[in-house]
């Protein structure tokens, strides 16, 4: 029996994301086995697991791209698969690769979500430009994706995800393609924006450092996806090198046990 998330649900209020005793299989392949956890509103939770641990399957369940084989998924109290359209503007995703559309300029890519949400064109453009300013890409607004560097593309991609002002932001290893310095800076910036606007964030990563630095809570998954360890890093864990190392090793050991 795998451990269950023991974090408290805030003030008894409905969590932003809830996975309750989830099983998910694709044919005979079990991707998720009895996984339960929740993410409170305004919380940043990091999902750590090795490749093939079912992190992306869990993300797809939360996005509502498919339903679980067994168990209950709730996003803001709704079933994301059955109430797919009702969760418009509630969830936004920062993907591992930037996924910018090559025929749209940077600003047109950022405004895409807003246009899909039927924001008037002028208003969508204004908001997109505001977000480009926040991610320091104003000068690149009218450039096409192939004219941008990797870091600029990923920032544009994050601006696109944030521009629709979602309540929940899902980040799927979206810093892993960047070099260490760019990744670190961008992660700190995104983290700042999430906290400033009180967004809920589920951050999928395979880098332990990223998880400790960014998350309020870390969930370590084994394969098939089941909870191996849950940790809540404190500010001290982040700033004190020894404590950081101890937590890092503990998580690494949990991941290693699974190996």
């Amino acid at each position: 029996m795998s451990p269950q998330s023991n974090a408290a649900i805030q003030n008894g209020e409905e969590p932003a994301i809830l996975l309750d005793s989830i099983n998910k299989s694709f044919g005979s392949v079990v991707a998720i086995e009895n996984l339960s956890f929740h993410v409170n509103k305004g919380e940043i939770v990091s999902f750590l697991g090795r490749t093939g641990a079912g992190k992306s399957t869990a993300l797809n369940l939360i996005m509502g791209n498919f339903g679980p084989t067994k168990g209950r998924v709730r996003v803001m109290g709704m079933d994301p698969n059955k109430d797919f359209k009702k969760l418009r503007q509630t969830i936004s995703v920062g993907f591992q690769t930037d996924r910018l559309l090559p025929w749209r300029t940077t600003v047109e890519n950022v405004e895409l979500g807003l246009l899909i949400l039927r924001e008037p064109k002028a208003q969508a453009r204004e908001k997109a430009l505001e977000w480009l300013d926040r991610v320091n890409l104003t000068a690149a607004a009218n450039l096409y994706p192939h004219e941008l560097s990797g870091g600029m593309r990923q920032r544009a991609s994050l601006a696109r995800a944030l521009a629709i002002d979602p309540e929940i932001l899902l980040l799927d290893e979206c810093f892993s393609q960047l070099d260490h310095v760019t990744s670190q800076t961008l992660r700190a910036d995104v983290s700042e924006v999430i906290r400033k606007y009180n967004k809920t964030c589920l951050f999928i990563t395979h880098r332990i450092d990223d998880a400790i630095e960014m998350a309020d809570r870390i969930l370590v998954l084994g394969a098939p996806a089941r909870l191996l360890l849950e940790e809540s890093p404190t500010e001290e864990d982040r700033t004190d090198r020894d404590k950081f190392r101890i937590l890092h090793d503990k998580i690494a050991a949990a991941l290693g046990v699974d190996a």
Partner: protein, 275 residues
Amino acid sequence: MKDYSMSTQETSVTPTGKSGPVLLRVFNQDRFAGLVVVALIILALQIASQFAPHYIAPPPVLIAEKLWTQLTSLWDEILITLLRLAIALAFAMLIGTILGIVMGMLPRIRPYVRSLVVIDTGIPALSWMLIAVFWFREPEIRIFFIMSVILVPFYALNVFDGIRSLPKEWLEMCESFRPNRWQVLRYLILPHIIAYVFSTTRSVIGYATRMVIFAELIASAVGIGAQMGLAQANFDIASVFAWTLFLVVLNIFSQFLVALLEKRVLRYRPEVEVR
């Protein structure tokens, strides 16, 4: 608002590929070889005309005279052919694209539409021409029908291929905003398949020109094809050569125009040159 700005300062921008000079460069490289080949053909015709009767190998000067006559006095025949070509291409582009989208976006209908299109591609152009003569009395309808049934499958299959090659990541990204089907079509599929519509047009324009001439020869009394039929009936091979020359130039020019338009519409694509 600056207090929560993302602080990453990264201003490097990769160089933009400029489309104009590349086109010009390709044209310059090819122009010399093209001129050499044209000069050789003219020389061969001139030599052949010295030894063979003019109804078999007309001299280049006679062909040039015929071409001048055609351009000045038969411009209405040329215009009719060009109009037929343009209308049929535009119609085939529209219907073929719609069928391609139906195949790409409606899986339940796909097998039926696809079977229909595949069967159509297997029917020889000549069969369609003869069928059109039986079915329709009006020459314009005959030609329009022939051109449409021949060209539509090219667009339908290529657009369908385009939709199938749409990166799954783009679709997932788009769907993360929970769009309706119309929005997926508008923001993702239509812009993506434009490149496929252009490449199909570039591939079929020469074929379409040949088909419209053939259809005019079989099914109409006006147009370049009909004029070529008339020239053949009168043993006027110089006129046949002159019309052929005109059609070759027309084909090269139309390919160039489509390529130019394609460059402009698809300017977002980076220039890639293989060394």
